[in-house]
Symmetry: C2
Subunit: 275 residues, 2 copies
Amino acid sequence: MITSNANSQVKDLVRLMRKSRARNEARVFLVEGPRMAGELARDPDWRGRISKIYLSESYADRNKKEQEELRRCAQAEILADPVFAHVSDTKTPQGILAVVRQREYTMNDILGTDAAHAHVAVLEDLQDPGNLGTIFRTAEAAGATGIILSRDCVDVYNPKVVRSTMGAVLRMPFLYVEDLIGTIDELKQTGLRVFAADLSGDRTYDEEDYTSGCAFLIGNEGNGLRKEVAECADHRVVIPMHGEAESLNAGVAAAVLMFEVSRQRRHQADISTEM
Amino acid sequence: MITSNANSQVKDLVRLMRKSRARNEARVFLVEGPRMAGELARDPDWRGRISKIYLSESYADRNKKEQEELRRCAQAEILADPVFAHVSDTKTPQGILAVVRQREYTMNDILGTDAAHAHVAVLEDLQDPGNLGTIFRTAEAAGATGIILSRDCVDVYNPKVVRSTMGAVLRMPFLYVEDLIGTIDELKQTGLRVFAADLSGDRTYDEEDYTSGCAFLIGNEGNGLRKEVAECADHRVVIPMHGEAESLNAGVAAAVLMFEVSRQRRHQADISTEM
């Protein structure tokens, strides 16, 4: 059992928790809590990627049954409770933490099995970890096929992002790109219609047809999309707003658009079934 | 100028910042930042409610012009920069803080000028300040008329909630109620159709008609609605989800529902105009 915060493994964990550079150099990320760790252990695509497990002493003593599956996946190390609390990103640590090798997705993963019905969110310079996590969670629920992020977005593997995805980060393909405008062109060449969520858009979002492959450009929380990025879109769409509200939270704007896609595709499927 | 954190006004401000009980006993709340403070000073319903203004020394020196309107509304006090930072709820204090008398809304305010077209969000036991703030911001943009909160929801006047409403807290009527079920009955008697956002709902949310007065029951982030509250609704509606997502963020669920109301009412207005 490790009992000192000065232990080199503990120092490494703290670095991986705090620094995206450390995570990206080691090509790993951290997953906290029995729920998400359990999902990793049960998922054939992730099981082999768990490189190490850390348990708090009290968790290891209490939950023998729950640990079995995880312990078959990787070597487990016990941390004294105060050491675990020192490493943990949460106020009330749940006593279990997995070091997991990152997955690399390709553009094909983002487009899903049928590019003609791809449904992609493209995020520019998104900064708030909670927003990004919520967008992953929402995207999965709305049936999006993947998420593209500009290089200056917050790190998907930031522990707060991972936590607020509620597991969606394990299932939703994503790709960081250096050249966002080039990538948008690539999406268009693949046949996707690209829509910019833009306060100066001239069409309301629900006047457009999202039943074939589509992508939505969502901008930074404070500044929206850069002009040159918004101009790459086939269409700029606006979400009409009442009152004196000047904009929507980025996660809310993404949710309204992605669930409109879901709604239209569900209705189309209903009509096909009836015919 | 106040230069000590031990000053009694400073101690009062810290209490008002941290404790909902202190805010509710004094019937005030705090508004930080030039943007929202400026909105207060320009709004006839709020201007008279500003009871005091605090400026950081450096802000007071720099932004003479910006302060004029606010200084006409209430007495201003200067705090040394470190004292202002001690009081502020933000990491990078903007140097301006207003103490504002709370407003009391009635059920009539919640229902708006035309109860037959009321659009109300009813929140049970919502705990996350960021979620609550986002719901206020979204509700205003979606044209909701008011928000009802169970007594155990987080305090709307919590500084993090106030901040994340982006000003909507100044414009969106809201009401805390002791008896949530009694209040839901009252809404039904007024003629509103009441919908519970419920994972076990048997109708999808977009199959219902929201063009007349309606209210949505939104539950706690972790547990959803209590069974006895969900059962008060006229209908339980579900937002269909793909993938392995088990639920949506409460703010996202509220956004999808409230913007469906907005969409339906906009389309109805379009049809009326065409006829």
